[in-house]
């Protein structure tokens, strides 16, 4: 009898501890500094906006969404917010790829022929803060919390990156501005030293 009680108690304790354990993932905190030799030539600011809102019956598609919309309809109050933030795309040339063979100087004509590395793009990062463009939580609805904002920012980030991958116009615009700037800069710098410049770019 005693053994049975002890076994049951242990089983119950194991069940409680298993149930209480949070789904914790290890978070490796590290930092890194990397030496680079990059000439940043253009930057694009891309804005993303999203809403946190209840789904309505008009918007609902399928059984699950319709059920959600019905539940939303009986909740007391409204819960809507609009958030936005900016992401930065940069265009650059990697100067470590510039070799002496890419430059030809003709002292007799005072001219320089320059073959610059290909222009590349990368995400510089995004704003740390998030803009709250609109916030209206009324009645018995719960306030929008930090976890929800972090989650929506993550989804906006995924969506933005997918858009940039899908639509080459984003990269083309910033690359074209970088190309124009590089030509103007090197022409001006070499011009000040008394050289004319013929500038082109590698394709890759």
């Amino acid at each position: 009898m005693k053994l049975g009680i002890i076994t049951s108690a242990l089983a119950l304790a194991a069940l409680i501890f298993t149930g209480c354990r949070k789904n914790e993932e290890p978070h490796d905190i590290y930092n890194e500094i990397k030496s680079v030799n990059r000439l940043n030539l253009a930057g694009m600011t891309i804005s993303k906006m999203a809403t946190i809102d209840d789904i309505t019956l008009d918007e609902a598609k399928g059984v699950k969404e319709t059920a959600d919309a019905l539940l939303n309809a009986i909740k007391i109050g409204d819960r809507i917010a609009v958030y936005s933030y900016d992401t930065y795309l940069r265009a650059y040339i990697d100067l470590s790829e510039l070799t002496p063979s890419d430059v030809a100087v003709d002292e007799s004509t005072r001219s320089v022929t320059l073959l610059l590395p290909a222009i590349k793009t990368e995400f510089a990062g995004r704003d740390l803060p998030i803009r709250e463009n609109h916030y209206r939580v009324t009645g018995l609805r719960s306030a929008i919390n930090a976890k929800e904002r972090a989650a929506i920012k993550e989804r906006m980030n995924e969506s933005l990156k997918a858009e940039v991958r899908r639509n080459p116009q984003f990269q083309n615009h910033v690359k074209s501005e970088a190309r124009r700037k590089a030509v103007a800069y090197f022409e001006s710098m070499l011009g000040n030293l008394g050289y004319s410049a013929d500038i082109s770019f590698k394709s890759k």
Binding site: K34, V36, S47, I52, I130, N145, R149, I152
Partner: protein, 196 residues
């Protein structure tokens, strides 16, 4: 009679338990609630910035306002760069002389997956409100950014970046002009200012 009462009580407990378990699923905001709009290009600007260091750092955030606390993790992405658009190049004999401009430190949130995660928010008070407003959260993140900049100076990253930028700038101008170049650095350790 007694047995039927017990069965009814057990059934009631099961029903209430199921309701307690399922209710949060229905009352938690759904992913589908969120409407993400198309991205818009706000600005395209040109620059000529020589970048000599990329910084990548994961930072734990632990902050409190009154009885409310937040624990989060953010991945920062930064650069140390130098605006070389208006370099003053002087010539002394065959040698070109140029001074390294002040450093510019940019700290942003990474766009890598899960770069900002709120792990926990809580209140010291029983049943107390643990909510942080957007404004409060933004102020906490601004402090994180300013601390990161201070650490970049304290760890000597700026000194390292300036030394490398001086060497890279000298190499670039020398390659372009085939002339010897001397880059001087008026502030080898850098200078932290409000603009950074």
């Amino acid at each position: 009679m007694k047995t039927s009462k017990i069965i009814f009580a057990v059934a009631a407990v099961i029903a209430l338990g199921s309701l307690a378990l399922l209710a949060p699923r229905y009352f938690t905001p759904k992913e589908e609630d969120r409407d993400i709009m198309d991205s818009t290009v706000k600005e395209i600007k040109s620059m000529v910035k020589l970048c000599s260091a990329d910084i990548y750092e994961e930072v734990p955030i632990k902050a409190s306002i009154g009885n409310r606390h937040i624990f989060a993790r953010v991945t920062l992405k930064g650069t140390i760069s130098f605006d070389i658009e208006r370099l003053d190049i002087t010539r002394e004999g065959d040698t070109l002389h140029v001074a390294l401009p002040p450093e510019e430190i940019e700290i942003l949130e990474s766009t890598d997956k899960d770069s900002y995660i709120v792990i926990d928010t809580w209140s010291d008070k029983l049943m107390g409100n643990s909510r942080f407003t957007t404004e409060e959260e933004n102020k906490i993140k601004e402090k994180v950014k300013q601390n990161a900049i201070k650490n970049i100076y304290a760890k000597g990253y700026v000194r390292q970046a300036r030394a490398e930028a001086a060497a890279n700038l000298g190499n670039m101008i020398s390659t372009l002009t085939t002339k010897p170049v001397k880059v001087t650095d008026p502030t080898p350790g850098g200078k932290m200012n409000k603009g950074n």
